[in-house]
Symmetry: C2
Subunit: 558 residues, 2 copies
């Protein structure tokens, strides 16, 4: 696919490469005739149906083909769905990166795991700083989100000002970092806003998001009052939550042991950047924690989403190297389920209760607030910026749609609010906007060392294998004559139990005998033989088992 | 496994075979020295990790071994997680069934799909009816739940009265069927209650459940006010919800077209039993509905849980034979997600919005109430029955635990509230109770025509196949000498793309050559050769791809 034929060379192009129509792997390209800047480069964590895939990254072939135009990759904040694809981008594009400090530190840490063709050029920016990038000039402004140093980006273009909200909420008094800087935004928006792109994650939810402050007392009391040990599980990047836990532990005379490598890494980086204050001697090793009285211990742990390899799931499975649940422990889940994780989360929680833990979650106590703006806050941003054009970003389709409708309700002309999804090419000039064609912008699957685009049928094969397994029919042939030799040999995996296989495959060979006897005497092309064997075996096995394994005939020339 | 050695022959045995520790496949055995009765026989819908499994049923080997003691299968209500395993039970146990009318009709319908060894003996009971069953005498009482004819069961035993709540909520004025009959319960409980077993699904949730009445006006207004066509999606068994939709359609001058075979079946049965009233000529075919003005159409559809083969998902995929979404349609999702279904549900909803539908769900409007009692209602039941012993049923472990704690708070002695899970043998006599041993009571997987217990490794193989696929290494041998002939042949599925496979497998054969050359000249046992080939190929492929396919060496004797 390519952009529309009658593309307008004088228009600004807005091309989402990720994050529009699906939350995750956020990436947005902004293009003029001469220059391209990219905002964010995230990963998507694979859904269950993406069998065996490690992670999903955006397809950047459009950018690679225009590498000489790409001026910079601008980062809004350090969450994986905004920075996780940076190493993959740098393998194909030698582009300078501009990121706020926490994101910069996280990107540097991540790049250590990858071999890159060129030395990365990573620049740390602070809100208010301006960077000139060809046709563009970028300025970052603080927003409040569930990770420190979150920003939005204002981009001066030849057409006017673009404002990209990043992921944000409005919290005038956050625990860590700055509130969303509506003062700066008001100044930036003063000369008029050409295009507003804003976070749609909670565009379906009425009202305002809650401040971090609303959960401080509740978490503090839970930690102070618990008779036994306390485990608090949250996202490792949720530094404000960790600060609340640190303060509560200190005030109630508990030491903290950290479980999970990512929790350690994020806390270290946040401390180095001054986002997290931890009193001296508060942190102890898990083994020290095990030797302290129960009333004096708080474990901070990863795994709030039920991730099977994270500390909390290991503890729930009684598979953690150092820590075991005992009766009287309290486990606080300071997070809500990300859709798709529910089964793993509830199973982990169930196991913890089975082991004797008292479970505290967002339904029973005020222990979590989320990091995205709800409808009243979204209205506030639209009213402050009064944009000519509006593009909802960061959301599944129905959230984008709800956000666009909200913008129209707030005064954006209905022809100027565009619900676009990954790969759409939106062309905007000072008179009008339109979606003009599409580019390749689907998923790229990372599987071990390989990268695949969506068309590769390996995933479909895995899905078939996962349903009813595989049956391989091996047919030996004389290499010289091409004639079939002896009986076929049948082997299977994931299809039937070993007990059932012997008789079933003996019968299958019998079923094939007549057919193969005929084939043996004739001059049958392999493709014809292969199709017939496949069809015969599929039909026979379905009749006998009501299952449909993948049937693969293989000729072996001896 | 078997019950504890020092089992008490004089005790009553309560043995959960399903539904305790996991919601679904509910089944409970109650046993005296001479007799056994079973309450419910449900299925569990397989979780994503149960690769390719159609459905999960309880393990009834304990009952089959004691077939001569089993007097009856008593059914509380007609939901699949309470009746779905009946056909499988009847294949192994020739046991009479007693069920309220709606459940009875649904069981009969289900049995038509199965071949049974004996003619089923199914008895329809009505609340208040008593049935004598050896040591037991059963009486059903009405409860309110999200399907008509829901009941609880009171069981007279030599030890005293058992009350099993069934699935219930308290709604004093339900749309369809009877309220939970606390009058009957009060009479039944009058002489004292030996054991209460009660629904724990919402034992973690504070407050009362809402009445169906609270959503009537909202659904009515949505259907009356919609400018275009309306789709309402709910569970097919949710007859009260369907009655609300029918009444709203009639009042607002819309005809109804039913999409989904199960919706048609449940509606037909409910009408035959007098639970659903549908005005004459209100129901039209989908094709007639397509020819009516938009304002005059309501589609009732299955698929509220995102089930891929249900009508709503087909419509969302533009894959329905008769119905297409058009701009201006309203889709009401009159259900909440069952945990684990979120991804499929949101993806279906997203697709509907993408096609131009206006989406209405429980977060945006009052369009759903659930069918299980919350904590205040659960307290009510405990206080009314004042049981000696308490066993929470129907719930994941943390729900059972929360319910047991609630019962203790309400006055049950803490030694008399038992959180037991499937397979536990609870022995109760008039003095004390204890869990005494365990029986086999895990999952039995139904896969096509086969039944498997949990130990069979086919599921594990499928899981491996789904991650990184399979590599088959075919090694031809001389049948007479056992010597290896020629080079191995390698084939794969779900591992790498065809483009990558050729070179990779050529290199793998090369890697194996040295090893096989040596093996060819020596006298290597196949098991030894097999292990070495497997290890060598696994290591080589992991180095090259960072993937871990299932590697299967196969010897072919020619």
């Amino acid at each position: 696919m390519s952009p529309g034929n009658k593309s307008n060379p004088k228009a600004l192009r807005v091309i989402p490469l990720g994050g529009l129509g699906e939350i995750g792997k956020n990436m947005m390209a902004i293009e003029t005739a001469d220059d391209i800047v990219i905002i964010d480069a995230g990963v998507l964590f694979p859904a269950a149906e993406m069998m065996g895939i490690d992670v999903v990254i955006p397809n950047i072939s459009y950018l690679v083909e225009r590498a000489d135009k790409v001026r910079a990759l601008l980062i809004t904040h350090g969450h994986e769905d905004h920075i996780g694809a940076v190493p993959y981008v740098l393998k194909e594009l030698d582009v300078p990166i501009y990121a706020p400090p926490m994101a910069e530190a996280l990107i540097r840490a991540r790049l250590r795991e990858h071999k890159l063709p060129n030395a990365p050029k990573i620049n740390s920016i602070t809100p208010g700083e301006r960077v000139s990038l060809g046709d563009f000039e970028a300025e970052w402004f603080s927003v409040c989100h569930s990770i420190p140093d979150a920003t939005g980006i204002a981009l001066d273009t030849p057409f006017g000002k673009i404002i990209h909200s990043g992921d944000f909420k409005i919290d005038h008094d956050p625990i860590v970092g700055n509130p969303s800087d509506f003062g700066a935004l008001s100044r930036i928006a003063g000369d008029g806003v050409f295009l507003l792109m804003a976070d749609s994650t909670y565009a379906e939810e009425e009202g305002h998001s809650d401040s971090d402050r609303t959960i401080v007392d509740s978490i503090h009391r839970l930690i102070a009052d618990a008779e036994g040990r306390v485990f608090l599980s949250s996202f490792a990047s949720q530094i404000a939550r960790i600060q609340i836990a640190v303060d509560s532990a200190y005030a109630s005379g508990r030491k903290i042991a950290i479980l999970g490598r990512s929790m350690q890494n994020y806390m270290r980086i946040a401390q180095e950047l001054g986002h997290l204050e931890v009193p001296d001697d508060l942190i102890v090793s898990p083994s020290t924690a095990n030797s302290l009285p129960d009333r004096e211990v708080l474990f901070l742990t990863t795994g709030s989403q039920g991730e099977p390899r994270a500390a909390l799931a290991r503890i729930a499975r009684v598979d953690h190297r150092e820590v075991r649940i005992k009766r009287g422990d309290t486990v606080i889940i300071s997070a809500t389920p990300i859709p798709g994780n529910e089964t793993a989360i509830y199973s982990t929680q169930d196991d913890l209760v089975r082991l004797g833990a008292k479970l505290v979650h967002h339904k029973s106590n005020a222990v979590h607030v989320h990091g995205h703006a709800r409808r009243e806050e979204l209205k506030g941003l639209i009213n402050l910026t009064r944009p000519q054009y509006f593009v909802p970003v960061h959301g599944e389709y129905r959230m984008l749609q709800a956000h666009a409708e909200l913008a129209v309700d707030q005064g954006v002309d209905e022809h100027d609010a565009f619900v676009i999804t990954d790969g759409d090419v939106l062309e905007l000039d000072n008179d009008r906007g339109r979606v003009n064609g599409r580019i390749d912008a689907g998923h790229v699957y990372v599987d071990g060392l390989g990268l695949w685009d969506e068309q590769v049928n390996v995933i479909d094969e895995r899905r078939m294998l996962s349903e009813d397994g595989i049956v391989t029919v091996i047919i030996p042939r004389n290499a010289a004559t091409g004639r079939i030799m002896g009986a076929p040999h049948i082997t299977s995996a994931g299809f039937v139990s070993d007990d059932d296989a012997e008789k079933l495959f003996k019968d299958t060979v019998e079923e094939l005998r007549n057919y193969l006897d005929r084939a043996r005497t004739g001059n049958l092309e392999w493709t014809q033989l292969e199709a017939s064997v496949k069809g015969t075996v599929e039909k026979f096995l379905h009749k006998r088992t009501r299952r449909r394994p993948l049937v693969v005939p293989v000729a072996i020339d001896i």
